[in-house]
Amino acid sequence: MSENGFAHEVDVTVIVNGERVSRRVDARRHLVDFLRLDVGLTGTHTGCEHGVCGACTVQVNGDVVRGCLMLAAQADGAEVWTVEGLSDNGSLDALQKAFVERNALQCGFCTPGMLITAADLLARDAKPSREEIREHISGNYCRCTGYEAIVDAVEMAAGTRAGATQAGGGSQ
């Protein structure tokens, strides 16, 4: 391929979970397949491949995105975080603990995407209402739980976060 020209195979370098990953990928390869097949990160799941179900949700340059609606080629130079990395660095810990305690997952297939979406909400708003939680996660399908336990768990995690902030540097 010529520099800045068309190619059916594209060389990409992506910072995935803090590690530099370089691969040559088909131009048509979407980000989820790149993560799962080229990098071996199977925690991100493929649920619909047309941007509806949210199972493939990952973080790209700080935004939550649908991994199936972004090409791997587009991620060249980007920073991508998946459930594996966000578990290893503890970012999701409060949510994960709450999900386990509240049984906010059954089959677990939607869970990584759900957690990443929930974390996005808590990053914007530390104390969301139940309605805000429901609205924010409404692009992530869960077929098992009926959602209530997930909403409870996000609330629980939000409580944990607020408490931690207060204990860490609160004025009381």
Partner: protein, 279 residues
């Protein structure tokens, strides 16, 4: 559900994008937010020899103010439109519409230019720009031209864009004292609307001056309800509701038959009027 093979190129700047497009031919497609395009390619509904990625073209994203207009770069994403103070102040319908589009992950990537160029008749933004009298700025090999939003949407996924022409910005007259609202009926949060409306007007007592009544989800493009608008300018709501019988000829779809859409269009006009008056 993997797309068929295509080639990819990342454009450095606008001339590069246009040059790449010329090189790849008319069937190549511009990759903006990709939230409809990549889904369509995966479904193999769309087929393209090549994608030209304009996500790294400088100066295509962002909102600026100039005189009595604001200018929204085509690559401005829905999430930005929802929180941008210039949009909130001068084009509140756009700010109101942005969070209605799908969900946070889609809003993070989807762009207003992509939405307009895709021209889905059930989408919010096309109706918004028509209702707000926007001008669409497009760039082709021959230079820049401007298309009034009212002339831009020609039919189902069909626009006034010529081959090799790229939408670069949307210029919207500042709302001033005109009020704007977006109302829609969706089964589930973030869904495409069964029926949606953008209403903009200069509210003076009972009359809605220079009313713009634009529907989405009731035709193959945004539908301007002229008869209803004229009645609202006279302050006659019941005449406006009646006028919709002539203004709208909605085809049925999975969300409802023509009569249902017409009925809901009346309900939603009343609600939009109420919302506008309550502002």
């Amino acid at each position: 559900m993997k797309p068929a093979q295509f080639a990819y190129a990342r454009a450095k700047d606008l001339p590069h994008a246009l040059a790449l497009w010329a090189e790849a031919g008319e069937d190549a497609q511009i990759l903006a937010g990709g939230q409809s395009l990549i889904a369509g390619l995966g479904l193999r509904l769309a087929d393209t020899p090549a994608l030209i990625d304009i996500n790294h073209v400088p100066d295509l994203a962002g909102v600026t103010e100039s005189g009595d207009r604001i200018r929204i770069g085509a690559m401005t994403r829905h999430a930005e439109l929802a929180r941008n103070p210039l949009v909130a102040e001068h084009a509140p319908a756009i700010a109101e519409a942005a969070p209605l589009i799908a969900h946070p992950a889609i809003q993070a990537r989807g762009t207003i230019g992509g939405s307009l160029a895709y021209a889905d008749p059930a989408a919010e933004f096309p109706a918004c720009v028509v209702a707000l009298d926007a001008e669409l700025v497009v760039q082709g090999q021959g230079g820049e031209r401007r298309i009034p939003a009212a002339d831009f949407f020609l039919g189902l996924y069909e626009t006034a864009l010529e081959p090799f022409e790229l939408l670069t910005a949307i210029e919207i007259p500042k709302a001033g004292r005109r009020r704007q609202t977006v109302q829609e009926l969706v089964r589930r949060h973030g869904d495409y609307a069964i029926v949606g409306i953008v209403l903009a007007a200069d509210v003076q007592g009972d009359t809605l001056g220079a009313a713009k009544v634009v529907y989405f989800g009731v035709g193959d493009a945004p539908v301007v309800a002229e008869g209803a608008a004229r009645a609202l300018e006279q302050g006659d709501v019941s005449a406006a509701l009646k006028a919709l019988n002539d203004d709208l000829d909605p085809p049925g779809d999975l969300t409802g038959g023509p009569e249902t859409k017409r009925h809901l269009a009346r309900v939603i006009l009343q609600r939009a009027i109420n919302a506008l008056r309550a502002q």
